[in-house]
């Protein structure tokens, strides 16, 4: 017990565990594990044949953390910032370090703006957003949604009703806004 010197006895000895569980103790020596010690200096181990890598061309201005001394020699080029969300992202990177909550909150806000902008943009494209297919909600039927949610005492049942609200709310608000604008336009046209 915690109140006396010795550690509580285990139900099985090491020999019993070795007999029952394949590989038990294969990495028993804590010093002989792949990430021990944590830092092992060997710049040649990885297969790299450079000390500092050649630089990837920066074909368009690439936002970066102000905690970096310079743009890293290699970087991702997926989805460059665009629109209002892009302006927010660039501002967040240019103004705030990673240590500031404002940096991350602005990026989260830009993500939400990006989702709205992209959905609006999709409506004038050949492939408008489709909330039914994109949410994969049809899996509720094909993957036993009701039965899966009823099984056992799942702790997430209590907030499952929030998910459809989070998903549907922007669509409902958007539709309401579009209806209000349309009604006003039609009202004005009728004089």
């Amino acid at each position: 017990m915690a109140y006396t010197p010795d550690k509580p006895k285990l139900a099985e000895t090491s020999e019993q565990l070795r007999a029952r569980i394949p590989g038990w103790g294969a990495d028993l020596d804590p010093r002989d594990r792949p990430s021990v010690p944590r830092e092992q200096f060997d710049p040649t181990f990885s297969g790299a044949h450079w000390e500092f890598p050649e630089r990837q061309p920066e074909l368009s201005p690439r936002e970066r953390s102000i905690e970096h001394a310079f743009l890293t020699p290699v970087f991702g080029t997926s989805c460059p910032p665009r629109g209002l969300s892009g302006m927010i992202r660039r501002y967040s990177y240019a103004k705030y370090s990673e240590g500031r909550a404002a940096h991350w909150l602005l990026l989260l806000a830009s993500d939400r703006v990006d989702a709205v902008e992209s959905t609006l943009r999709s409506f004038v494209s050949r492939r408008p957003d489709n909330p039914v297919t994109e949410t994969g909600v049809l899996a509720e039927g094909s993957r036993h949604g009701l039965r899966s949610r009823r099984e056992g005492r799942r702790a997430d049942k209590v907030h499952h009703p929030l998910d459809p609200i989070i998903v549907a709310a922007p669509w409902v608000l958007g539709a309401g806004l579009a209806y209000a604008v349309l009604r006003r336009v039609v009202g004005r046209a009728r004089g």
């Binding site: 804590p30 790299a48 997926s78 993500d111 990006d114």
Partner: protein
């Protein structure tokens, strides 16, 4: 696949990625997986997740094109690609900390580069696609050994390596009592790996009965459904003669359930970097002087963690993204010897075209889903 906004993904035709750096390779993906941490992106929790980006940091495939300076790979090679993108020679890589590479992520210094995991980890497209750009092709990818099953290979690119690394960070000694929070893929592999390091008892905690059943059969673990107990911390104390476990592994991360306030403020309202329910339970369940290994992924914002208890108990908290490639030589041995059987936890194999349903199923934990693999058609 492309992300369209929180809870929405779809399949789109994008341009085939091209060589952007002399040490790039383009890999044709033959198998990919959805990781539990992809759900943080899917749910809109990770800052700077842009509409149009492609997720996926667990994939294997065939080299389709190489850049001019690539020496260690050739077109046609079958490769497994660690989820970390790393240069091999920065201060951190030179010390084996490949997950902390400083030369691949301009967007943040606190985290390295990860495929398909938002611009916060570098803005790279991921492998839930037909083709993917693989930077530093001489450093990251490894040829898939002939004897290694392709599904085992894709699971070794993150989930197995992360579970195994999590057990290492627990600094497990012979006879230690190890409690693993979370019976998802990483938790299952962490539990199985704990035995390899000589654990005397392994307990897995979750709220999904079907995953706990897998923990019993796959990882030979005792299991607890925390919804069956008023207070899981008290229950853990009773199970360990009121001492507490020697080691606790948090294999849950940012969207933990079990406390509605924590879950809603983090996972739904995004007011915390993550819901630290499992981490707080770990702090309270482990014995004084014990070790906590954090494998669950959290966002970069602050989280309401019980540091006071951690300090008063003299705990050691260890954590990192996994330097995957460093784990592989030993993991190859364990898989070849039959000590770890990665693909036993795969529950679904889904064509890339149906990835929206796959995400919904995995997110809502439908149909007994533990680990879904994605099969591209190219």
């Amino acid at each position: 696949m492309v992300y369209r906004g929180p809870y929405r993904v779809r399949v789109e035709q994008k341009d085939r990625p091209s060589i952007e750096h002399p040490n790039d390779a383009i890999v044709r993906v033959t198998r990919a997986a959805i990781c539990g941490s992809d759900l943080h992106l899917y749910h809109g929790m990770m800052p700077d997740t842009r509409v149009g980006s492609t997720f996926g940091h667990e994939f294997v495939g065939v080299v389709d094109e190489i850049g001019s300076s690539v020496q260690n790979l050739a077109v046609g090679d079958r490769v497994m690609v660690p989820f970390n993108i790393f240069c091999g020679t920065c201060f951190f890589c030179a010390r084996g900390l490949y997950s902390n590479c400083h030369n691949v992520n301009p967007n943040a210094t606190a985290v390295g580069g990860i495929y398909g995991y938002s611009h916060t980890t570098g803005g790279y497209d991921g492998g839930q696609a037909e083709y993917v750009r693989v930077p530093f092709a001489d450093v990251g990818p490894t040829l898939i050994p002939d004897w290694l099953d392709e599904e085992d290979a894709v699971l070794l690119t993150d989930a197995v390596a992360t579970g195994y690394f999590g057990a290492q960070l627990g600094d497990i000694k012979e006879g230690d009592v190890v409690v693993v929070f979370g019976a998802g893929p990483v938790g299952l592999y962490a539990a199985a790996s704990s035995w390899l390091m000589g654990a005397g008892r392994v307990i897995v905690i979750d709220h999904l009965d079907y995953r706990l059943a897998k923990a019993r059969t796959f990882a030979h673990a005792e299991t607890i459904n925390f919804t069956e107990h008023d207070d899981i911390v008290v229950h853990m104390k009773k199970l360990t003669d009121h001492l507490g476990a020697d080691v606790a592994i948090d294999a849950v991360g940012a969207e933990a359930d079990g406390n509605l306030l924590q879950h809603v403020t983090a996972a739904k309202l995004k007011l915390q970097g993550g819901s630290p329910i499992a981490l707080n339970w770990a702090i309270d369940s482990v014995r004084k002087g014990g070790t906590i290994s954090v494998m669950g992924a959290y966002g970069p914002m602050f989280s309401a963690v019980k540091f006071g208890d951690a300090m008063n108990k003299g705990l050691t908290l260890r954590m990192n993204q996994t330097p995957v490639k460093r784990q592989w030589p030993r993991l190859f041995e364990h898989v070849r010897n039959g000590y770890l059987k990665p693909n036993e936890i795969v529950t679904h194999r889904i064509p890339l075209e149906h990835i929206a349903e796959a995400y919904h199923m995995f997110s809502a934990k439908l149909d007994g889903c533990i680990k879904p693999l994605i099969v591209p058609s190219a």
